[in-house]
Structures are given as structure tokens and as C-alpha cells.
């Protein structure tokens, strides 16, 4: 089995019907890394929450049709890292993202109880990454 330290990257249009694609893609990747079926199902939920949050935030900013969400999944120090990234229009984006996540309290409680770590990271150019981390078993 490979070590999968280089990211597999998936870009989906910021539209609700693509969240299911993202889920399945990451489920496939997590299965490769050796997570059991139950944990893979959990990770699917977490990815779904994070992508939903990203898409809803982009929709609030308007003109969602040309926006996309980029997901990078990779292994690092025996942990699965899933970065859900999107470009926001505003410089205050990271605070907005944190607020937006808090508002979605159901989604956040699901996300944080499933994953070992959930971070919001700012990138250059007003990009925001929701970083989900889960320890790889064994």
C-alpha cells in the first residue's frame, strides 16, 4: 500500500448536488488508508458537513454558479487530513467562516464529534480552508 502523502485533489462546482460526489470520493480515499467501514461512514458525514458549509457560505456571497470547492485529501503523520478549500470574496472571510460554522450548530457538533480536529485556516487571496483531521488506525 502506498503512503498517500501527496494530496489527491477534487474540485467540485459549489452546488448542492455535488456534495454527494465529494462524500463518495473521500470515502473511497479513506477506505484506501485502512479506516473501517463505520469510520468511513463517519468521515462521509464530516465531509458532507464541511462541503455543505462551504457551499452555503459561497451562496450567501452570491453568484455561486462560477464558484467551486477544492478538496485535498492526504496522509500526514499517520493522520488523514481533508482540506476543504474555497475562495471567498471578502478579506474578513475567516471570521465570517467561523461565524457561519457557529450558526450551523448542528453541523458543527456533528463535525467536531466525528473528527479528531477541525480547523479553519486562511490562505492567500482570501481563501479559506476547513481542515478536518482524523487519526489513521493501526
Amino acid at each position: 500500500m502506498g503512503n498517500f502523502e501527496q494530496p489527491t485533489s477534487i474540485t467540485i462546482p459549489a452546488k448542492p448536488e455535488y456534495v454527494g460526489v465529494a462524500r463518495l470520493v473521500i470515502a473511497a480515499f479513506a477506505g484506501f488508508l485502512g479506516f473501517d467501514n463505520e469510520t468511513v461512514e463517519d468521515i462521509k458525514i464530516a465531509v458532507s458537513e464541511a462541503c455543505t458549509s462551504a457551499i452555503l457560505q459561497l451562496h450567501k456571497e452570491g453568484r455561486p454558479e462560477d464558484r467551486s470547492v477544492e478538496i485535498n485529501a492526504y496522509a500526514e503523520d499517520k493522520r488523514l487530513v481533508i482540506d476543504i478549500g474555497f475562495a471567498t470574496r471578502e478579506a474578513t472571510s475567516i471570521e465570517k467562516t467561523r461565524m457561519h460554522l457557529k450558526e450551523r450548530d448542528l453541523g458543527m457538533s456533528v463535525l467536531t464529534s466525528i473528527m479528531d480536529k477541525v480547523e479553519v485556516v486562511r490562505t492567500k487571496d482570501n481563501g479559506v480552508i476547513l481542515r478536518l483531521v482524523k487519526e489513521i488506525p493501526g
Partner: protein, 115 residues
């Protein structure tokens, strides 16, 4: 994957059976079906989730929204859930305390009739 929704009436109670995945894409379908039921005057509603393969907080949000709606008419929403993975998100979010959860439609019906 998609969400199939079937509604029927059992002893005056509105029963919605779901099959498939409930997420940000499909949850609006469920929401409008719930609104329709309430508009038809059904305030005691059973939602059968036994054939749901996937559900995230978008689905939970619609259930919570529906509950608010029926409560303003002294109604109730009961759930039928038998799969461990679906029960789990109700537990994680504390919604097991908000919704009565049954392991069959019949149980849910007799609980509503008995109360």
C-alpha cells in the same frame, strides 16, 4: 443517489417514508413535503428513516424545522430509526432527547394513539 419520499395516512396520522440520502441537495424536498402535510392539517407525523442510507445535519435541520411547525399546532414528529449509523447522529447532536424514536411504524402509531 437520490431521495425518494412516500407519504401515506395511517389512522389519521401522516406517515412519510424516506429512502436514499438526505443531504443539502435532497433535504429541501423533504422540507416541502413536511410543509404540505402540515398545510393539509396533519400535525402528528411519523417519519420512517429505516431506508435512509445517509443523513447529515441538513436533514436534521429540516426535522427540527418541521417539529417547530407542528408544535405550534400541538402536534408531534415521531421517527422510526433502526440503523446504528443514523441513530448515531441523533445521539451526537442530542436530538434523541427531542424526537421520540421507535423501531417500527406500528410502535410509533400506537404510541401516538395511546397518548
Amino acid at each position: 443517489m437520490d431521495l425518494r419520499i412516500e407519504s401515506k395516512e395511517v389512522e389519521g396520522i401522516g406517515v412519510i417514508a424516506l429512502e436514499g440520502e438526505v443531504d443539502v441537495y435532497t433535504a429541501p424536498k423533504l422540507k416541502s413535503r413536511l410543509i404540505d402535510l402540515v398545510d393539509e392539517g396533519k400535525y402528528d407525523i411519523i417519519i420512517d428513516l429505516q431506508k435512509v442510507e445517509f443523513m447529515d445535519s441538513s436533514g436534521l435541520g429540516v426535522l427540527v424545522g418541521g417539529l417547530k411547525r407542528v408544535k405550534s399546532h400541538q402536534g408531534s414528529i415521531s421517527l422510526v430509526v433502526t440503523q446504528e449509523n443514523i441513530l448515531k447522529i441523533f445521539r451526537i447532536t442530542g436530538l434523541v432527547k427531542v424526537f421520540p424514536i421507535f423501531s417500527s411504524e406500528e410502535e410509533a402509531v400506537s404510541n401516538i394513539k395511546g397518548s
